[in-house]
Amino acid sequence: MDMIMPVVVATLGAGTPLIFAALGELVAEKSGVLNLGVEGMMLVGAIVAFITMLGTGQLWLGVAAAGVAGALMALLFAFATLTLQANQVAAGLALAIFGAGVSAFIGKGYVGVTLQNAANGGISLPIDIPLLGPLLHSLHPLVYASWLLFAGVTWFLTRSRAGLVLRAVGESPASAHAVGYPVIRIRYFATLFGGAMAGVGGAYLSLVYAPLWLEGMVAGRGWIALALVVFATWRPARVMLGAYLFGGITIVQYFAQSAGIAFATQFMSMLPYLATIVVLVVISRDVAMIRRNAPVSLGKPFHPSV
């Protein structure tokens, strides 16, 4: 039974980059913007954070830099789609590819370099709680930050005025515009936020999880994050669940291998992707539920009539 704790800790860690990227994308999508470039933004965030950390030794500076970098990449996308009215799907794909190229380019001199003080600053509690104590101690502050993010995003979307406006923009931009809200500007902020969070997710990978830089090290997690938003039907709590589920499948697969469960490892590696498909199908078949929860204007360009 003392196998459970390490699996839980590892799962929480594996889910964290997904949570950052997915929650960020969720906010963007709630405002009606579909940004497929998450993978590219995460990669750029990862390398920028890495370089910053290498230079300054400050974890939070690295994370902040990653956020800025992710937001800048998202700005490219936002400008193309919100101002220039380009097709959101194509622009998102372009961002994913461009981000991969940019990150490889600036990361050239850092391939294989590894950080030593992968700050594992877990929280130590003054009192000794039996199960939670050691668990909380082994979690990285960024994992806690992801929980705070979840709380913040939930509060923002459901309780705050600004969140209501954002959701209105996503549901019916024409009406929001008629009432006087600056639709495009709101979407810009939402998209930049999404980019910043994707950057932070990438930073977690390169600063805490790995901690080194390798080209393409995000390894598809950006796409998984996109899938998570859909199968969470755009609700933050389900994003958390989905992220941990996905992370958990990957982790459990390794524990199974190590325990000697011998089956072709490639099929076990397929499990997370197949599971994503299955859950997507299960969620999507309820068209009514999707229609209820998906922002109506998702992916459609909005052109304020003059």
Binding site: F79, A80, Q85, A94, F98, G101, V102, F105
Partner: protein
């Protein structure tokens, strides 16, 4: 003074052709700045990137060899993209097509058949279509987003070929390295130009260009799929089936990608490896867009993209430019194109605010 975007009543024809050129020009400018910033002579770098690779017959053959799968897949994808069917999993469909062709090639029962290569081609197309059928089915039946399903299946396909070459299809004469046995000569595409690698699979691409052009521009079915893409409400009103469009869009992309897979394994590779394609399925997406989803444009875009690949290697060899420069260009090209495309649908107006009459310039 203000710049305002005004929607045009009609798409500007001139801009439709001009915007890829503008995008290419902007990419070149970016390249110029980049090379200079890296301390390399920009003109020499341009020569290395764009002229040197095609300076010989071999170079031109390589250009076409690399452009062929890109164009082939892009045409298939364009059929889907025009109807808003986003097949992002072409890479996986290529892999499965290669696996299917490999199964035919390695199967002793077919070894002596004169139809071996033809069988491989058919198998490849069927394999790719089968893999694309999954997201098509899940979309039409369960409304699952085809972008995500097709993408997830890409990872699954790559793990599948990995399993096969490490396991049941590993070459028994190969010292247990992960590769399939070499395909027999009868299972390889014949070389078209001696001393080059340009093989007959490029003919498949030419056929696809022709078929694609006819389908998209002349056939009623193609017209229907385009309407679905432009306005699903109008399409429904006219009785055009959206479900059928999904199937056509996905299967066209799957077949094309599968054929490209055959082209790789029965062409330059000659056997199955743990990875089959250097990302053709993804690059083809860029090619499709830069080619404005039109077969003729796609041919040019494919050649350009192929040149960027070749140029990347050539620039490394002769100038020590970093390897990542090529993918940087590819992504930038698409971005610039998306930006330049705005001029197709919108007009830029310069408005001078003021009490007196406004003078406006439109582009």
């Amino acid at each position: 003074m203000q710049l305002r975007l005004e929607p045009r009543a009609l798409q500007s024809r001139a801009m439709r052709y001009a915007s890829p050129v503008i995008a290419a020009a902007l990419t070149l400018v970016m390249g110029f700045i980049l090379f200079a910033a890296l301390g390399k002579n920009p003109l020499a770098a341009f020569h290395a990137f764009f002229i040197a690779p095609i300076n010989s017959i071999n170079g031109v053959a390589e250009l076409f060899l690399k452009a062929s799968p890109l164009v082939l897949i892009a045409i298939g994808l364009a059929v889907g993209f025009r109807s808003n069917i986003w097949n992002i999993g072409a890479e996986g469909q290529l892999t499965v097509g290669a696996i299917a062709a490999g199964w035919v090639a390695l199967n002793p029962a077919f070894a002596d058949s004169p139809l071996l290569l033809a069988g491989m081609i058919v198998a490849g197309a069927v394999g790719g279509m089968a893999w694309a059928a999954v997201p098509a089915f899940l979309r039409t039946r369960f409304n699952a987003n085809e972008i995500l399903v097709s993408l997830m299946l890409t990872y699954v396909a790559q793990l599948l070929v990995n399993y096969l070459v490490f396991g049941p299809w590993r070459d028994p004469q190969g010292f247990n390295t992960p590769q399939s046995p070499l395909f027999a000569d009868a299972a390889l595409f014949p070389i078209l130009i001696e001393n080059t690698r340009l093989n007959a699979s490029v003919l498949l691409t030419l056929v696809a260009v022709a078929v694609g052009w006819v389908f998209l521009n002349k056939s009623f079915l193609g017209y229907k799929t385009r309407v679905v893409g432009l306005s699903s409400a109008a399409a429904r009103y006219a009785g055009f089936s959206e479900k059928r469009t999904v199937w056509i869009g996905m299967l066209a992309g799957g077949a094309a990608a599968g054929l490209a897979g055959v082209g790789e394994v029965a062409g330059p590779l000659g056997q199955l490896f743990p990875t089959i394609s250097p990302g053709y399925g993804f690059t083809a997406i860029i090619v499709a867009f830069v080619g404005r989803l039109d077969p003729v444009g796609i041919v040019f875009a494919g050649l350009l993209m192929s040149l960027l690949y070749l140029g990347g290697d050539s620039a490394q060899i002769s100038m020590g430019l970093p390897a990542a420069a090529a993918s940087l260009f590819q992504g930038a090209l698409l971005f610039f194109l998306l930006g330049a495309d705005v001029l197709v649908n919108y007009r830029v107006r310069v408005i001078r605010a003021g009490p007196v009459a406004r003078r406006s310039f439109s582009a």
